[in-house]
Amino acid sequence: MAAVTLTNVIKRFGVYEIIHGANIDIADGEFVVFVGPSGCGKSTLLRMIAGLEDISGGEIAIGGKVMNDVEPADRGIAMVFQSYALYPHMTVGQNLSFGLRMTGNPKEDTDRRVKRASEILRISELMARRPKQLSGGQRQRVAIGRAIVREPQVFLFDEPLSNLDAELRVQMRVEISRLHKELGTTMIYVTHDQTEAMTLADRIVVLRGGHVEQIGRPLDLYDNPDNQFVAGFVGSPKMNFIKGRVVGRNTRSVTVELVGEEKARIIQPLAGAVPETGAKVIVGVRPEHFGNAGEGDADLTVGIDVVEHLGGTSFIYARTAHGEDLVIQRDAAKVPETSEITVSIRKSYLFDENGQRLR
């Protein structure tokens, strides 16, 4: 088992820098998820930890040892690929043991490890089959099994669930969680799916455009995002962003008026710098933070476009008088039949024009 430390890690392809100095500390035994939209550099970062991509600058250490120039096989890692990367011409058993056989591991030890992995993943009865004869979920298990067999210090997962259908994905998510509890090994997991990140991670690293936007525990990111990107990325449905303008201020708080809604004013206490009067800001409100009229800071009357009933809760897709789209979460019972609804903002986040959080 080992901690993983990334210090100022940079990746360049030719003249293009695509990772701009990442600093990430991963504790021993921690489950960390790299999440971000496609092209954010999360997979590249993972492949750099694995040693499949060169490190253009900075340092990657595993278990306290700098790994920049160490071969992938000697880094104490095992990797599960998005495509599973199972050898199509070998049986499941051969797939599991291939690496050990090829590196001259003693046969009894190889057999023991394969047996253990197949028991952990409940694939013992599939050992004689070929990848082609397996379902997607079974292939995924074999791919994970191949990683377990290595008894690594760190597991690396590269979008392992993205080829599965929705139901299997939930099932495998639980399975991977269980595996982490059982093995207690450090795991680094890459995904573009924030739900996977929220449900699996001890801590999440949010990446965008090669920058680390924020690192934190799932609920911290949800409750206390550093910027508009993280606020929008974490949580489903997405946080609503409404344009606002500062209309009043003192040293401890600021009064914001929503654009086009003269009556809707929010007073927000601020610990840090307070923006000037007249400054443009963005007000972020999660769908679940809209209350009944009069419950919160500001009331807002919006036109209802579409209502989605999910059973217990419903999502109202609405539009402000100023033409901004909103998603409002409500108890199913409390959705009116009218074409308009008045809601209040119970909790909101303020961001400056550049998307940085004001707090």
Binding site: G51, L52, P72, M79, F81, A85, Y87, G99, L100, M102
Partner: protein, 278 residues
Amino acid sequence: MSSLSQRRLGRSLLLHLFLTPLAVIWLFPLWMMIVFSTMPDNGIFSPGIELLPHDNFLANFHNLQRDTDFVGAIGISVSVAVTYTVLSVLLTSMAGWALARYHFVGKGFVVAIILGTITLPYAVVLIPQFIMVARDFQLANTWVALIVPPLFNSLGVLFMRQAFSMMPHDLFDAARVEGVKEWRIFLFVALPLARPMLAALAIILFLASWNNYLWPLLINSQPGAMTAPVALGTLIGLTKVSWGGLMVGAVMLTVPMLVVFVLLQRHFIAGIAAGAVK
């Protein structure tokens, strides 16, 4: 019957009416090769038109063997072609693998010269190759002379490069992360997956070696060291030679390849068509 299917029928008829005579013409030389090989020499050189096989094949074979040691030459041809194919497949797929899998200094240059040699006539290297092998290395009339110089081939390398780069590279990365050495990844992961392509390549290379004429004619011209095509070639144009026997030789060179062609047509065609599909 609707006019649409009538039109299709008319078209189909026209197609077959054109293609059938062409196919007959195309098969005619091969058919005549077999017919000639079964006719006595005085039958071949008689005024009648003979289009059906006779029963003189074995006698012709004995005549051929009297004119030249054709069985021995076939033995050399088979051994040389097999050895050449194995070595060349190995060499070509190793080079193709390197070009498909690795980034290395000079890669663009290597690819460029390989492409360049496609347009370069073999004639340019023929004379120095001959001088080098025959005079400098003193290897004339040996197997090495037949096998080694033709080992370089450019289309095969490009074919294998294509084959390897179409495989998912995650497979190789997975093995690499597991600590498998690159040459083992090549042998135990890449090569088994490339089996159909290797088959196509092997067939084309075998055929090339089997039918090769100019180089073996120059370098292994001594009786007892000749390949089958060279041995047969020495008989063409002799005044006192059994033409029935010559045709038996032609049949022995051709028919096995035709059988291989029919059995492995898919690989055959894949190998030849490889040049076109980029």
